[in-house]
Amino acid sequence: MTPLASLVRAPIDPLSIIRDVSNPRNGAVLLFLGAVRQVNEGRDVTGIDYAAYEAMAQRELDAIVVEASEKFETQDVAVQHRLGELGVEEVSVAIAVGHAHRDAAYAASRFVIEELKRRVPIWKREHYTDGTREWVDPTGRASAGAPS
C-alpha cells in the first residue's frame, strides 16, 4: 500500500483528499481540517509560515498513516500538511479517513492529528500584527530563537 501522506505547498483541496479515501467499503468518511487561527495566546496573528525537515517529516507522516491503518483496520487514511506562508483561515492540515463505521473513523482521525503534533518535524513561525515573527514552541519553554 502506498501511504497517502504528503507535504504540499499549494492550497489543500478538501474534496480531493475525501476522494482519496472514498470507496464502496466505507459507511463513514471523515474530514478534519486544521486552519490558521487569528488569535493565539492572546496575540493577533496575521499569518504563519510552516517549515519542515521534509525528508524526515515525509517518513513520519507515512509511518503514522500505516500505523493508523493497522490500528483501526482501514486502508483509507490520508493526510496532507501544507508548508510555506499561510494566511488566517487557510487550511494547514487535512486528514481524511474512510471506514466501514464512524467510531473507528473518528478514532483514527484523532490518532493521526495527535501523532502528527507529537512527532512530525514541522515548525511554524507566527507573524503578528506588530510586524514581529516567532517560532511557536508548544512545550512552553522559552523559544531558542527569542532574545535571552
Binding site: G34, Y50, A51, A52, Y53, A55, M56, A57, R59, H81, S92, V93, I113, L116, K117, R118, R119, V120, P121, I122, W123, K124, R125, W135, V136, D137, P138, T139, R141, S143, A144, G145, S148
Partner: protein, 80 residues
C-alpha cells in the same frame, strides 16, 4: 570524521546557520556530538538536551553517529 549537522527553525536562528560541518572522533555518540556543539556561538540558546535525528529517525544520547550519517537537531515540533 566529518558529520554534517542540519539545523531548523529556532535552532537555525540560534546558531545562525542551517547546517554545520562537525569534526568528531569516529563512532561518536549523539551525546558527544551535543557536547561538541556547545562550543559554537549561539549554542547557549539551545535547550540542555535537544532532540536529535540520525538518518531521519529520532535517536537517543547513546546512538552512534557514523561518517556519512545525516544528523539533525529537532526543535520542539509544531505541526498541525
Amino acid at each position: 570524521m566529518t558529520v554534517t549537522l542540519l539545523l531548523f527553525a529556532s535552532y537555525a536562528d540560534a546558531l545562525g546557520v542551517s547546517s554545520l560541518d562537525m569534526e568528531l572522533a569516529s563512532e561518536s555518540t549523539v551525546g558527544e556530538l551535543l557536547s561538541a556543539i556547545r562550543t559554537r556561538p549561539g549554542a547557549e540558546r539551545l535547550p540542555p538536551r535537544p532532540l536529535v535525528a540520525v538518518n531521519q529517525a529520532y535517536a537517543t544520547l547513546d546512538s552512534v553517529v557514523r561518517a556519512g550519517d545525516e544528523v539533525a537537531l529537532i526543535p520542539p515540533v509544531a505541526g498541525g
